[in-house]
Amino acid sequence: MPTQNEAKKGRNFRSLTVTLALAFLALSTVVLLIASGLELYFNFQTQQQVIVSQQQLIAQDAANTVKSFVQDKFSMMESTASISSMAIENQEQQKNVLDKLLGREPSFRQLVLLDAQNRKLAEVSRLSQSASRIDSRLDSNLFAQIQDGEKYVSSVYIDNITSEPMMIMTVPVKDIFGDLKGTLVAEVNLKFMWDLVGRIKIGDKGVAYVVDRQGDLIAFGDISRVLRGENLIHLEKVNDFVSSKGLIITGESGTSKGIQGNSVIANYAPLGMPDWAVVVELPVEEAYQAVAQGVVMSALIMLLGIFLAVVAGIYLSRRITRPIIGLRDAAIKIGQGALDTQIEVKSRNEIGDLASAFRQMMDDLKKSRAKLEHHQQELEKNVDERTKELQAKVEELQKFNRLAVGRELRMIELKKRIRELESKRR
């Protein structure tokens, strides 16, 4: 008779417990995955919108900070030009006014007062006269820009000696009637903007920097990169600004390569005047930190769910299959003749009914067997009795036979005596 394991192997046995547990686990996992996936998707969408809004606000705020730096300089120059009546003062007075303005604002490296014909009236500088380099900037291009009496900001240029970014700012000098009498020109050292930009807080690891319309870096926390005269047009957002014409802040927040070579969510805000943009970058991992935390939390919950599903699956499948296994084991024992095997199944379901039927079958079987045994005993008894009777009759017959045979032999003897007697008589 083959063993149980051999039988299982032979039939490519697959445990119902395992099947049920796996089915339960698979179902639970699929449900968990779908639920977590949907939650993550909507969470991501929401977070992305939040990031876009935040980036736009931060970029605009940073742009306002930088713009205020330039506007402050304009305000100081305009105040000086209007309040001090520079247009009508003598040269010494004009120089004194320029001295005061230079002393008040450290970012002004040089100041020049031009008359209406763009001739130099007065000049002051932080540099020595021989080191003064503003004259090369006072050319026809600049004069063409300032002739309409409007404020003007030049493009950024790099100082040959210090490698620092500089620019020219001009304001018109007008008399009391509003007639243009000259121009106040300032050479502004933009390194004084570096600290301002370096202090702009963008999250924990985010950065802000300023680029001009050519994509040249003009302000950044890492001043060595500014001094190196880096052009950042290869960066997506900088390229967007350089290629764009208007003052639109982008509403996209896709991942791009940042100024530090990492993956960032970037945005920019153009200043208008001057024609620069402030780019703000936030590392992807920081931008999506909330999403990442959600993913981790969902993963943990999912793992916990899977763990519970495994436990529950094993428990339930065992609970379902235990009576069946009990019945199977009982059937095996009964098959081996142990009709007294107890079937301990008390389920109130179909399996319970099956067990009851099995028990009933067992009882019936036992009764049938008892009856059979009784009949057998009866039969054996009858057989014994009949055997005994038969044996008695056989003995009787044997006795009779013996008697009959004796008589026959006597008769034969007698006949033989008779014949001998007859022969003798003859």
Binding site: Q4, S15, T17, V18, A21, K95, N96, L98, D99, K100, L102, G103, R104, P106, V124, R126, L127, S128, Q129, S130, A131, I161, T162, S163, E164, D222, I223, S224, L227, R228, G229, V296, A299, L300, L303, L304, I306, F307, V310, V311, I314, S317, R318, T321, I325, G326, R328, D329, I332
Partner: protein
């Protein structure tokens, strides 16, 4: 009852996987020993020794706490090439992470001493024009970078301010350390400017204060000292207490304004100084040191320029009977009254 062994499948494995996942997701907290950086500081001119304080203050702001994750070996001295060399060799032998050095001569010596050793150098308060210290401002090259001292421009500015404060002076005494490398470029810049302004430069090279005194002594008795003002250029002799004491005493006794570097020795004070702010320069140096410590090759970090700092000692100027213009006072970064 027969136990079906398959029903206990992989439970342990699942639990183990869960544990691993929790550990993985929760992150493993491991403590790493923080590196302690060793910085050798060669403070080669006591006149600007405060640079070290500015450096340390900014380094602290950048996250370096002295004694915790950074150790400074500060070697203080005045101009002495032998002592410079000895201190620098010690830094190299000690394998410091970076050498911070000032002024120019010590920086040049540092470049030489560290060649081929891999020890990066961050100079500060150093003139680079014509000194061969760096290849260019944007790409210093080698293993060196630093904060540039705007030397030629500062000496011209000193000259212009002296001329503006003392317009009647036509002869400027210019004392300087004999053989000091950065003097020649300054004089070369100064001479044409003086000629253009109608000023005569009375150049006085000296090895020490005694030589200066020896030059001044015979002029004490003369009605004409041979010069109308004393201009201190960027060099290490006139800013030593002994030398300035001698120059200041002579200047006050003869009512000859002395200025260029803001100095004081006893009652003798210079009328103005154009220099860089020591503390500010030290602070400007720190981010470069930070970049080097973070692994950026020093030779790829652009040189930073220090800003000039203009101070007027108004009281001293008045003592010399000078009338300082409002414009000049307005331009001053600091007025000492």
């Amino acid at each position: 009852m027969i136990r079906n062994k398959r029903t206990g499948f992989g439970l342990q494995a699942v639990l183990a996987s869960l544990l691993v996942a929790v550990i993985f997701l929760g992150g493993c907290t491991t403590t790493q020993n923080e590196k302690v950086y060793h910085v050798g500081v060669l403070s080669g001119l006591s006149f600007v020794a405060d640079i070290t304080d500015g450096l340390k203050a900014k380094m602290t702001e950048l996250g370096y706490t002295e004694g915790k994750n950074i150790v400074y070996d500060v070697q203080k001295m005045d101009f002495d090439m032998v002592a410079y060399r000895s201190a620098l060799n010690k830094f190299v032998d000690d394998k410091v992470d970076v050498i911070v050095v000032f002024p120019t001569e010590a920086s040049m010596e540092a470049k030489k001493a560290t060649e081929g050793t891999g020890t990066p150098v961050v100079f500060t308060f150093a003139l680079i024009e014509g000194m061969g210290l760096v290849d260019s401002i944007r790409e210093p090259g080698g293993n060196i970078t630093g904060v540039r001292y705007p030397g030629p421009d500062i000496v011209l500015k000193r000259f212009e301010i002296m001329h503006e404060m003392v317009p009647q002076a036509k002869r400027f005494l210019v004392p300087y350390q004999r053989g000091y490398p950065i003097v020649d470029p300054q004089l070369e810049a100064l001479r044409p400017a003086a000629e253009a302004a109608g000023i005569t430069l009375v150049e006085l090279p000296a090895s020490n204060a005694t030589e200066l005194q020896a030059y001044l002594d015979p002029r004490n008795k003369s009605a004409d000292a041979g010069f109308d003002a004393i201009l201190i250029i960027v060099e290490p002799l006139a800013v030593t207490p002994d030398a300035f004491g001698a120059l200041g005493k002579f200047a006050y006794e003869h009512k000859l304004p002395i200025g260029g570097a803001l100095m004081a020795a006893g009652d003798y004070k210079s009328i103005f100084g154009v220099n860089v702010n020591d503390i500010a320069v030290g602070r400007q140096t720190a981010p470069l040191v930070d970049k080097v410590l973070r692994g950026t090759p020093a030779g790829t970090i652009p040189v930073v320029s220090a800003d000039s700092y203009f101070q007027i000692n108004y009281k001293a100027a008045q003592a010399f009977g000078l009338n300082v213009s409002e414009g000049l006072l307005a331009r001053a970064d600091e007025i000492i009254r």
